[in-house]
Symmetry: C2
Subunit: 352 residues, 2 copies
């Protein structure tokens, strides 16, 4: 069963430029490792919204529900408010397909440089495991006294035991497969009085099941400081939807890889397709110029290969990225090279 | 009117060791600049809680309501849950005295080193202005189905127009006094759908009053990345209670000053006393050994002097700190020196 049907959603801006390179590299990896991919394209985007008043057609999710995975470019474009574009496409996919884990590697790839003095690949190599469907991201809330002096906006954060336990379990299982066997919980139980003490209780309960894993926790404020001062302390860091969102940008930033970082939105039970997308956005300022860096998309493709059970192929793609990063002719301008998007993608595909 | 009555609350752990050094330096500055201070001591702390079941006596706040300022050490000790100790002392002071601004400088002092490669005092010099009394820190919320599979914890974030506008106004006024005249807003209006779009609207409305100030905004996730990659971009950064909390630990961390950073909880209208406290906690692991670094407390004293209208005295204290930082005999162990808490405090007092 090495035939995969993939829903490809380029989305907006540079998503249209980097996604084809991600596909090119997946096909190269398929050739080498005996996998075949069929890509079905969906034009769901802000352009779609402009034409049809919706980011995707009604019932759109049914069209991709049976695919083996979703390969996404980037969502969002000036003219459509972010909370419209994202809550109309990205977030419904995450939620309807129960992709309750958002996974992001924070690593210094060979050929990249951390902005931290004296830190290299050996110091920074951890994962952020983010809860991806509940918590602080909720639609519950609203406003009172709109437009007056007394205007008040409210938003409810909602943490369930089921939602909290399952993402923590994922983090501990991931740590079990790694050398350091260490899970860190991001909390704020000294400031956020209802949800975070609950989060801590569930973390304590979960860690009791994993005596082989070292477990600790930090408040989110000092944790961001530790990412900068002691990135070598971390192995697997688990956080709520909001804290995980923050840490999974900060982590790649300290690793020097924010422009090329990948992410996976995972439904661990595989009842639904998981989604793979670069961390970067649609970059309207450089869209259409053919100069965007496709590595975030390609690395996301590697995460997809690993999720589909082909770790050897995933590793080959990451190695090919490292080969390209060492070569100024393969690097795009943001990394001080001279390649355009397609050249960079081709070199990586060949290296695979 | 240069006679000041200060409420001194050492609190817990190393608070008891660093607060006297803060006082020593304030007295030295008083001598030089013709100010006199009377310190009234209050033993409100986790020890107080252990004896009396409360962090401070009933009606405690009335005892310090008329003071010119509050000088606090650190709150929290093992045995008393953080959310008890903090919500029983620190947070009521912030709220009852309407200290709606939490102000923290992020600077590389002479003699300190940023963990970022190639970054020094010229690159990192900004303030975080944090909303300090509402937002994500609320007691509204609770739990359902406690102890069952269906357990759910909820917490309400509450943003008022009054609360949002006034902290933003403070940020713009502060920027007006600085060279770069630049305010950055921390937001997350693409993920947090009710409160953050409201925050953005108020920011847009406020900036219209300040055509002389450059204003921009970033989502909190990428903003933390920019703190690491581009700390030189920032001048005054305004954030909600939670975002400001995170940024005001991350900022000092990128400046290399997290162990010595000061903070001010300010009631700009001066209806109530403002409170000055180091960013570090009570450090139970080193408490009682006399080795804690008192610079965070002393620098907080400098912020108090500035708040009381004595910028010259405040500058003299910061310069004295820099003199001490250059001298290994004045530095405490955490900074690779040999001084104990009292020695470090004395050298700074003399340098003033
Ligand atoms: C101790 C805690 C409640 C507090 C906060 O989050 O406000 C601290 O982190 C701070 O920044 O003063
Ligand atoms: C675009 C936005 C809603 C999103 C998030 O906060 O989840 C993004 O920052 C991410 O991390 O995928």
């Amino acid at each position: 069963m090495n035939d995969y049907r993939i829903a490809a959603i380029p989305g907006d801006g540079i998503g249209n430029e980097v996604l084809p390179e991600g596909i090119r590299v997946l096909e190269a990896a398929g050739k080498r490792f005996g996998l075949s991919f069929t890509f079905d394209h969906f034009d769901w985007s802000c352009e779609h919204y402009a034409k049809h008043g919706r980011m995707m057609p009604e019932g759109g999710l049914d069209l991709i529900r049976k695919h083996h995975a979703i390969f996404l470019g980037a969502v969002g474009f000036p003219g459509v408010p972010d909370h419209v574009s994202l809550w109309g496409l990205l977030i419904p996919i995450r939620r309807d397909f129960n992709q309750y884990v958002n996974l992001r590697p924070c690593r210094v790839l060979q050929g990249m440089k951390s902005p931290l003095a004296g830190r290299g690949p050996d110091d920074i190599d951890f994962y952020v495991v983010r809860e991806n469907v509940e918590g602080e991201y909720s639609e519950i809330g609203g406003r009172m006294f709109r437009g007056t002096e007394h205007e008040t906006a409210m938003q409810e954060s909602i943490f369930t035991r089921r939602g909290t336990d399952r993402v923590m379990r994922y983090a501990f299982e991931l740590a079990r497969k790694r050398a350091k066997k260490h899970v860190t919980s991001a909390t704020k139980s000294n400031g956020i009085v209802h949800t975070m003490p609950f989060w801590d209780e569930r973390f304590a309960a979960m860690k009791a099941n994993y005596p082989d894993i070292r477990a600790d926790q930090f408040h989110i404020d000092i944790l961001t400081a530790h990412f900068v001062q002691h990135p070598d302390w971390f192995d697997v860091v688990v956080g709520s939807n909001l804290f995980g969102d923050i840490l999974s940008d900060l982590g790649p930033a300290v690793a020097g890889s924010i422009g090329i970082a990948p992410s996976a939105n995972i439904n661990p039970e595989r009842e639904f397709p998981s989604m793979f997308e670069p961390v970067h956005g649609s970059a309207p300022d450089i869209a259409g110029k053919g100069i965007a860096n496709p590595i975030g998309q390609i690395w996301s493709g590697a995460m997809m290969l690993e999720h589909l059970g082909h770790k050897d192929a995933a590793d080959a793609v990451v190695r090919a990225i490292e080969v390209a990063l060492a070569d100024p002719k393969a690097r795009t301008r943001d990394l001080g090279g001279s390649a355009n998007t397609v050249e960079c993608g081709r070199i990586i595909a060949e290296a695979v």
